[in-house]
């Protein structure tokens, strides 16, 4: 299985990418620990996580093809 991870705002700047594929992750917390390994700086930032356009507050199971976004506080308008 594989999920697509999107980084926005300042997080895209510190990860130097907008999007990265991760395989073999069974939950959001599992994915997050892999991302922390790749981009340890992320730990210093505030963000929310969405799975398939829905902001999550728990730790859902991930399935193949899910889109997971790491989003700093919004500042549109």
């Amino acid at each position: 299985m594989q999920v697509r991870v999107l980084f926005f705002g300042v997080l895209a700047e510190i990860t130097k990418t907008n999007s990265k594929l991760y395989g073999d992750v069974n939950s959001v917390s599992h994915l997050r620990s892999k991302i922390f390994d790749d981009f340890p700086e992320i730990v210093h930032y505030n963000y929310r996580i969405s799975v398939n356009n829905e902001i999550i507050s728990d730790d859902p199971i991930l399935k193949d093809g899910d889109e997971v976004a790491f989003m700093p506080p919004f500042s549109g308008g």
Binding site: L6, Y47, A69, M71, P72, P73, G76
Partner: protein, 167 residues
Amino acid sequence: MRSHSCPLSAAVKNLSDYITEMLKNMLVAGPVTHKIIAEYLSALSARKDSGGHSVFLGQVRADVVAGKTVKAIEYSAYENMVTAEAAVIIETILARFGDVRSVDIVHSVGIVMAGEISLFVLVSAGHRRQAIDACSKTVELIKEKLPVWKKEIFEDNSHEWKQPGLA
């Protein structure tokens, strides 16, 4: 994102069609131009059941931050989620304000120079009070709910993220 056409000028078959059409034109590359605004406003004359229209225009300010002047803002958006959240905002407003006939939102993606418009909200209602209150609420929901980020670009080309989200 695609080339702009005005949803109100099309026959509104039903609410879902209207929202779908609105969302297709919601994100524009670069500033919300006077031409785009004029298109939306010129469509209003066909709405003979509306007595009031409330418009909000968000403009990029040439703020001075630590001695440096903002020359532009670069907006980025999670586009799929923006349109999903905007649909919820419009449904929320229409459900809460029964006199509102239409809600239109146009938001910039990419570079918008100081003095240019980055957000256009237009709410039409039978009477003024709901047009004004619903437009105000729509703007607050946009700020709160839409996954959009702004990066201030200064005259020396350095930049700074607004609300960078430092923990």
